[in-house]
């Protein structure tokens, strides 16, 4: 207990918390992406995956609570460090300051806050299935038959969900910020844990770049792929079966506006 208290009380300790929770979240992001990329397969593939997760409530809730705690710790540490950092420089420079610092390193709190807002939205969107936020309607009505069992039609939800242009746009923006956050945070994580020296630092930075780019491309491919027309016929059928109103905007308009984004927490 003494150790935890000491950890929390010291600025370095809180950085360890940031780094370790950050590392856990990156691992989650990778797993989550692998799960969601199944949307590029047959509809049953991802539906079965979702059903499998739902059939293990202990595991699912364990993971959810664990994630929530991890995110919570990450944010709490960030918040206290932010207030420490603010109070350490009560008078700002007239000429800016923060010489030679990259913008991604300077705006971690900003990118983090947008990502937090996105997580809340994402949970409402695909976990709570709140009809008020998805621009489509009641996703709970979307069901399908899987080996004789009626299960939620996650595939249709994703296709219909990302065919709403502003949803796709918000996802993409959040993904871009996540990329920024990770491209600094991943390398900084190694630094905070002391896992670098002059030999490994360039490699750590490269790793951070590669992982954050890969995650961005992976996640962005989902809304972009959907906007490009993947599963649109299936989704139209599903929508008809569920008697949902037509989407306020078509895939074509979204494409005209710009690409869309990927999702997290598709599992319910």
């Amino acid at each position: 207990m003494n150790l935890l208290l000491r950890l929390w009380r010291s600025s370095l300790g809180k950085k360890y918390v940031m780094a370790l929770t950050g590392a856990a979240l990156v691992v989650f992001l990778v797993g989550h992406l692998v799960g969601n990329l199944q949307v590029f397969g047959a509809p049953d593939l991802i539906n079965q995956y979702a059903h499998f997760l739902k059939s293990k409530p202990l595991l699912l809730w364990g993971a959810r609570l664990g994630l929530l705690a991890t995110v919570g710790l990450h944010i709490a540490a960030a918040f206290t460090l932010l207030s420490l950092n603010r109070s350490a420089r009560p008078v700002a420079y007239a000429t800016g300051g923060a010489y030679a610092a990259t913008s991604r390193s300077r705006y971690m709190a900003v990118s983090g806050s947008v990502i937090l807002a996105f997580i809340v939205y994402h949970l409402l969107h695909f976990t709570a299935l709140n009809p008020a936020v998805n621009g489509v309607g009641d996703f709970t009505k979307l069901t399908t038959d899987l080996h004789g069992e009626t299960v939620p039609d996650v595939y249709a939800m994703m296709i219909l969900g990302f065919n709403v242009w502003w949803v796709a746009a918000f996802y993409l923006i959040a993904q871009a910020l996540l990329f920024m956050h990770l491209s600094h945070g991943l390398a900084a994580m190694f630094q905070s844990l002391g896992l670098r020296n002059h030999v490994w630092w360039p490699r750590v930075q490269l790793l951070a770049r590669v992982v954050s780019v890969a995650l961005f491309l992976g996640y962005a491919s989902i809304p972009l792929g959907i906007l490009a027309g993947i599963g649109s016929r299936y989704a139209a059928d599903a929508r008809a079966r569920a008697h949902l109103a037509a989407a306020p905007s078509s895939a074509a308009t979204v494409l005209a506006v710009g690409p869309a984004s990927a999702g997290k927490e598709v599992v319910r």
Binding site: N2, L3, R6, L7, R9, S10, S11, L12, G13, K14, K15, Y16, L81, L84, N85, S87, A88, R89, P90, V91, A92, Y93, A94, T95, G96, G97, A98, Y99, A100, A101, T102, S105, R106, M108, H184, A187, A188, F190, Q191, S192, L193, G194, L195, R196, N197, H198, W201
Partner: protein
């Protein structure tokens, strides 16, 4: 050449400060930045205005007394040098040059451009030493030190304690300074007995002084007059983690003579 100077003027810690603008007298491009301020001050004194207070001493980049944030960068436009080694030829005729003090809660302002950096001394006093009494040392060559370690220790030990790392960091963090001290002693065999005690004590004092945390922006390394590497911060993080995991030593059994 001439420049326009926008200088922070503040009578003392409690009074409000503001920028004042001065036209410099005719300058020689070979003047150092501090000599430019000397000339300005002579001019102010002759006019009956109070000279600008600024910290300086050795004027050869080693004592760490000079400070100043010049156009947003501690120690002026060049890398790897202190303000005292910055020359006016780095500016153009007619430039406006903004001069601010180092700004950090842990470096309270004294006057104009002078801040109090004694927080650094207190961090050192918390554990920045090897406890060896005068006269008790063994022959210097009885403890061989690998040249690589000794060279690396020297890289850290060159820190001049100017505080530019704190001034540049967006969080006013003193990590580079503390890391340099901890790194220097921690790399040498002589520093091993107190290695973990030292890192704990120094980090705790650093936190007490009200410096911010490191967010790995790299500003400190970029402005350090001795270009001390962020590697040392990683080393500090590592040592502190080990120190936390080790915990406090067991109380020795008491005994009497």
């Amino acid at each position: 050449m001439k420049v326009k100077l926008k200088v922070w003027r503040q009578k003392n810690r409690t009074s409000a400060g503001e920028f004042k603008t001065y036209e410099s007298p005719e300058l020689n491009p070979n003047m150092s930045f501090l000599e430019m301020l000397d000339v300005l001050n002579e001019q102010l004194a002759v006019r009956g205005e109070e000279p600008v207070a600024f910290d300086h001493d050795c004027r050869e980049g080693i004592c760490g007394t000079c400070s100043l944030v010049i156009d947003g960068k501690p120690h002026g436009p060049h890398r790897g040098v202190a303000t005292c080694q910055t020359y006016m030829r780095s500016f153009k005729d007619g430039d406006e040059v903004v001069i601010e003090p180092f700004r950090a809660a842990a470096f309270p302002l004294v006057k104009d451009l002078v801040v109090d950096r004694q927080a650094f001394d207190r961090i050192q006093q918390a554990g920045g030493y090897i406890s060896v009494r005068t006269g008790s040392a063994p022959d210097a060559n009885s403890i061989p030190v690998p040249k690589e370690d000794s060279d690396l220790a020297m890289d850290a030990a060159q820190c001049i304690g100017c505080g530019a790392c704190v001034a540049a960091c967006k969080n006013a963090s003193a990590m580079l300074f503390v890391a340099a001290k901890v790194g220097h002693l921690g790399l040498l065999p002589q520093g091993q007995p107190e290695r973990y005690k030292r890192v704990k004590a120094m980090v705790e004092q650093m936190d007490t002084e009200g410096f911010g945390a490191c967010t790995v922006t790299g500003s400190c390394e970029a402005v350090c007059p001795k270009s001390i590497s962020l590697d040392f911060i990683a080393r500090l993080n590592r040592d502190y983690a080990v120190a936390l995991l080790k915990g406090d030593p067991k109380k020795a059994a008491s005994g009497g003579a």
